[in-house]
Every structure is written in C-alpha cells, then in structure tokens.
C-alpha cells in the first residue's frame, strides 16, 4: 500500500465521521449536545483540510497514483 492510498483511506474515514457528526449536530435535542457535536465537526473539518492539502502534494509528486 502506498502512502497516498493510506492517506486517502484515512481521508475517506474522516469524511464519514464528519457526515455523522453533522447529522448529530442537527438532530440533537439538547443545546449542549448540539454544541459539542458542532465543535467536533469543526475540528474534524480542519483535520480534513490538512489531509486534503497533503493529498494534493502527494498526487503532484507521484502522479502515477492519482485518482483511486
């Protein structure tokens, strides 16, 4: 497994987490609960953008592994 595909896998995983967090941040009935999920959502989004940036560099450096 190349580094690129590993990063991609983690990225996909994190995106899944983000979407679930988003559902909970809307669905929660309690203000406190919603805020906690909202904060978690924002942190996850930051991590995702970091990884996406890394992904871009990786794809630039090793274009043979571009795409899936």
């Amino acid at each position: 497994m190349t580094v690129g595909s590993k990063v991609k896998q983690t990225l996909a995983n994190l995106k899944g987490i983000e979407s679930t967090l988003r559902i909970y941040s809307i669905q929660g009935r309690n203000e406190d609960e919603r805020r906690t999920f909202e904060e978690a959502l924002q942190t996850t989004a930051k991590v995702i953008s970091d990884l996406e940036l890394r992904m871009k560099t990786l794809e630039y450096e090793e274009p043979q592994y571009k795409g899936f």
């Binding site: 983690t10 899944g16 909970y24 009935r29 309690n30 609960e33 904060e39 978690a40 942190t43 991590v47």
Partner: protein
C-alpha cells in the same frame, strides 16, 4: 314503582355520579393518602352504598350528605394549598425519626412506631444497616423516607466528576404496528424518516410491536417475531471507533514521514482528534 326498578335507577345514577366525584376529588392514590383523606373517601363510599341500596330512603337527604362530604373536602384541599397553617392542621406534619444517625425515641413514641417496625420500614427501603442512615422522616402519609450517609449513597456521575450524555425522554413512535404521528412530530421527524430507518433494519412496519426513538434520534424496535434478530443502533459506538482509527492513522503518518513540517502537522492533527474523542466520549459511549 317496584323496588327493583328503584334500586336499578338509583344505582345507575350513583355509579356515574361516583365516577365523576372521585375524578373531581383528585389523583391521590389510596396508599399515599393521609388518614383523614382515607376516612373521607370511606364516608363517601358508605353514603353512596347506602343510597344505592335504598337504606337511606329519601334520596335527597343522601345527596345532601354526599354533597357536604365532597364539597368540604374540595374546600379544605383548596384552603390547605393557600395556607400552610391549615395544611399542617389537616394533613399533619412530617416527623423526624432519625437525625444525624441517631434514632429519636420520643418521636418514635409520638407516631407509635416500635423499633422493629422502624427496622422493617428501613429494610423495605433496602437499608439493612441502621448505621448507614443519616436521616429518616415519616411523612404525613405514614411513609418513611431515608437519607443515607453520604459515603453510603449510590455513586453518581457527579461524584466521579464525569460528564454524561444528557438524555431526555424517549418517544414511542410505533405501537402495535401503528405509527404515532404526534410523538414523531414531537421529535421533529416524519414518516419518511421512519420508513427509511425500518428499511435499513430490514423490518416491515406491521411486524413491529413497539418502536422508540431516543433523544439522539436512534430507533429501537421490538418485533412480534422474536426469532428475528434486529440490528440495534450502534452508530455512535461505530463513530467513536472510526475516530480512534483515524487518530491512530494520523499518528502513524507522523512517525513515517521524514519531513519535520509534516510531522508536526500530523501530530497536531492527531492531538486535535484526541481532544474531540475525549469531548465526545460521554455522548458516544455509555
């Protein structure tokens, strides 16, 4: 008019009248009544029985008695809400039986309770050791309530200084295979959502006996067909596991890379995720 018609008429009228009267008199259950309230209800019951079986021959007299007993009760109830003095006069005050872990013998005599009876009452509250009791009080209904010493109390999340998922009451959305629209809309959900959830589980609506939605919007179902295994909601546990996995991935990226900037970026991200996990833990794992 023959006697039997008379009794039939009286009984039927009184039957419905009594249902109405008892409803008006309030919701106190017999076991939690003060002794006076109990007598009150008994008298009303006797008067009704006597009128209904034609022992009180003149029904008007009977109804007057009935009216007095119910109206006075309602009036006294109302007054005791308004005035503490009248409340204490009618219902009596609570009596302290154990204070600072010591039995108050004079108060025991005052409420005519023997030591054995006190112990029995404590046992029925699951307290077998008198030494565990800090404070016990006999309410005006005769019930005994117990406060345990603070180191004997069951432990709570507050004692552990741990945050827990603030759960509100679940809503029952399916009963006997019927969708309850009102509770669904209370949760801000609709039938479409329910259909999708049931489809995800692979269960048809008419097979569901009870379906409940908890405060975070997860559906729990009990089926008529008990041989079917239903997947119970595990979304939250899964989410936590995924977070853990991503965090571990980031850590391994940080270890693998040679680039210092990247190393610090990955380890910072891993730290961030770790913090998120700690924050979400009470909500996701219970």
């Amino acid at each position: 008019m023959p006697n039997w018609i008379m009794i039939l008429l009286r009984s039927s009228i009184l039957f419905f009248l009594t249902v109405l009267l008892i409803r008006i008199l309030g919701k106190v259950s017999p076991s939690r009544m003060t002794p006076f309230k109990f007598v009150n209800y008994m008298v009303i019951a006797f008067i009704v029985a006597l009128i209904s079986t034609n022992i009180i021959i003149n029904p008007i007299l009977g109804f007057i008695a009935l009216g007095v007993w119910t109206l006075y009760t309602i009036a006294l109830d109302y007054l005791s809400i308004k005035s503490k003095w009248i409340h204490d006069l009618i219902n009596g005050k609570e009596t302290v039986l154990i204070k600072d872990g010591k039995v108050m013998e004079e108060n025991l005599i005052q409420v005519r309770l023997t030591g054995e009876e006190l112990l029995r009452e404590l046992r029925s509250k699951n307290v077998f050791n008198l030494g565990d009791v800090e404070f016990a009080v006999m309410e005006s209904t005769g019930e005994i309530n117990v406060l345990l010493k603070s180191d004997r109390k069951p432990i709570t999340a507050h004692d552990l200084q741990r945050k827990v998922d603030p759960k509100s009451e679940p809503q029952t959305v399916i009963l006997d295979g019927n969708i309850l629209d009102e509770s669904l809309s209370n949760m801000g959900l609709n039938r479409n959502w329910l259909d999708t959830e049931l489809q995800k589980m692979g269960v048809s609506l008419d097979n569901v006996f009870i379906g409940q939605v908890d405060s975070s919007g997860d559906l729990y179902v009990d089926l008529f067909d008990d041989t079917l295994q239903v997947p119970q909601p595990k979304v939250k546990e899964l989410l936590y596991a995924n977070l853990e996995k991503s965090q571990a991935d980031l850590l391994s990226f940080a270890l693998e890379t040679e680039d210092r900037n990247l190393k610090s970026m990955f380890s910072k991200d891993a730290d961030k995720l770790k913090k998120v996990m700690d924050k979400l833990k009470p909500y996701l794992l219970r």
